[in-house]
């Protein structure tokens, strides 16, 4: 089971809001292909067929941390849009976002393409799955770098840098889990 903790993993303070356009850019890390929801669901879903305890632990713990990252992203989006007026949306050609759901969140990428389970994979083969996870961390890192290029807001940049760093650490840990899995498979062959 999971226990909710009434706090953010990392403090978020948007420096300059409202900025619905920036919120739209960030949306892809909520419900986009390389977003935090995809990450959490990918890892938690792979746990049942991964053979080693180290990898089961890592998928559980990183999968859980990704849920905390979902909340960091939504907090930034919330702070960037909470005081936005209809005119603010119109001024940046986001009337279509406002028309569909006002300020409500939706699991989609920045272009409004809805989240789909085809963004994530699982094959039972632990080498395949861990490579999928390492690739996912690199893709998310690249997206965070794109987002950093799209904003000057110091508060948003600070949170994005934290999230980018986490992708790097997760990539490192998945690489170690892959090495352990490879040793496990080799040891089985000798036996």
């Amino acid at each position: 089971m999971w226990i909710y903790e009434k706090k953010l993993q990392y403090p978020v303070r948007v420096t300059c809001g409202p900025n619905p356009k920036l919120a739209q850019y960030l949306l892809t890390q909520y419900g986009g292909p390389d977003g935090e929801l995809s990450a959490a669901l990918r890892y938690l879903n792979q746990r049942y067929t991964i053979p080693t305890n180290e990898a089961k632990g890592l998928l559980t713990d990183i999968g859980t941390e990704e849920l905390a990252h979902v909340e960091i992203i939504t907090t930034m989006i919330y702070q960037l849009t909470k005081d936005a007026t209809v005119e603010d949306y119109e001024a940046v050609d986001m009337g279509s976002f406002y028309a569909i759901r006002d300020k409500a969140l939706f699991y989609s990428d920045s272009n409004g393409v809805p989240w789909t389970a085809t963004y994530i994979q699982a094959h039972s083969d632990p080498i395949t799955d861990l490579h999928e996870d390492m690739a996912a961390e690199q893709k998310a890192r690249a997206v965070y770098e794109h987002l950093l290029n799209l904003t000057d807001d110091p508060g948003v940049k600070d949170a994005l840098r934290f999230l980018r760093e986490r992708e790097v650490v997760h990539f490192q840990r998945f690489g170690e889990a892959l090495r352990i899995v490879q040793e496990y498979i080799d040891a089985k062959k000798i036996y």
Binding site: I3, K6, L8, Q9, D61, E71, T75, R173
Partner: protein, 84 residues
């Protein structure tokens, strides 16, 4: 007693160290020094959370934090509404 936000920041710092150590220990389960750090921060976290729960209401749901009277779960700001 620290101000609520300062205490929250302290908890965030200690918990971050613990997240980092937990992931590291998953792939280095025999690193005794890392485990000592983990247990040390875990003790610190326990004390900080007790302090927070009693002063500002439960940090965790489902009984993992006690609540003063009346029910305080709803009193502290929701994470997305927090002003850091």
């Amino acid at each position: 007693m620290m101000e609520r936000k300062a205490l929250m920041r302290k908890i965030q710092d200690v918990e971050f160290a613990l997240v980092e150590l937990q992931l590291y220990l998953d792939t280095h389960p025999f690193d005794q020094k890392a485990l000592m750090d983990f247990n040390c921060y875990s003790q610190q976290l326990l004390m900080l959370k007790q302090q927070y729960d009693m002063a500002y209401g439960p940090l965790l749901q489902y009984g993992f934090s006690p609540s003063p009277y009346p029910w305080k779960w709803l009193d502290s700001p929701w994470p997305w509404e927090e002003q850091f």
